[in-house]
Symmetry: C2
Subunit: 143 residues, 2 copies
Amino acid sequence: MARKANTDELADRLHSTAIHLLRLVRAQDAATGVGPARLSALSVIVFGGPVSLNDLARAEQVRPPTMSRIVDALEREGLARRRTNQQDRRAVVIEATQKGAQILKQGRQRRVKYLAGYLRRLSAAEQKQIENAVQAIQKALAR
Amino acid sequence: MARKANTDELADRLHSTAIHLLRLVRAQDAATGVGPARLSALSVIVFGGPVSLNDLARAEQVRPPTMSRIVDALEREGLARRRTNQQDRRAVVIEATQKGAQILKQGRQRRVKYLAGYLRRLSAAEQKQIENAVQAIQKALAR
DNA sequence: AACAATAATTAGCAAGGCTAATTAAATGCC
DNA sequence: GGCATTTAATTAGCCTTGCTAATTATTGTT
């Protein structure tokens, strides 16, 4: 049936556009000097505040041992620190340092500016279309 | 100026939506039993036809040694093969096997269906907005 | 007090990224 | 024609980031 085929085709094109877009901006992240897994985890604690290791692993969709090692690296680089949770001394609380927050925000700025440079080629109407689509996609993916 | 700030904000939201979307569909790729770098390289040779190792590395934005090892793995798994280019015997030509093409197409199908399942929650009008946005984004990112 | 469950870490493996160095073939230049 | 340079690919060796299994420390339960 036509409706389903159309949705499949849209999904296909949306998917490959997303790949293309991220591939483009990812190059900018190299300038931070922080690897992608570390940068992404740092982003969670900078914008979401302190979290346990398990929660951070879940947020990043990796297993706890993987996250433990990423946090090791963030601590080594002075971007985050571990505290032990005093209510439950098995658990740790991971939080960003000043330096970590600063580096993340600069990197984010760089990435966004870079992508914005491309979007600025488009008319206001086209930008509005993207705005609408972003809302629709977020709605579709919610839950 | 207001226009620039808006574009930055749009870039930010588009970027994080793209991350969210790809994270979601990526989980489906596990079902192919082929790792992400291999799957992505296989996709290039299935849809783009035979290429040299250097060209394939460039298409995938990795260095030649990295691609050499990925192709080793694809050959080991029977998904691709190397031929030597007879015009330039330093070079290899990499092409997909029947099995490689089949597995890739099945995986792509799976991913697309999965994403389409989310998009189908949206109205025809919302889907049309995404369609328009995909075109606009592709235009913006084109050279 | 003993036992089970939970949070994190350690150990060890594989995939996938890199640079530097090597090999083989093609090209360019007297 | 022969030698130097360039080019295509590979090999070697490193790092990061993913995993599972096993361990340690603490908490909760009975």
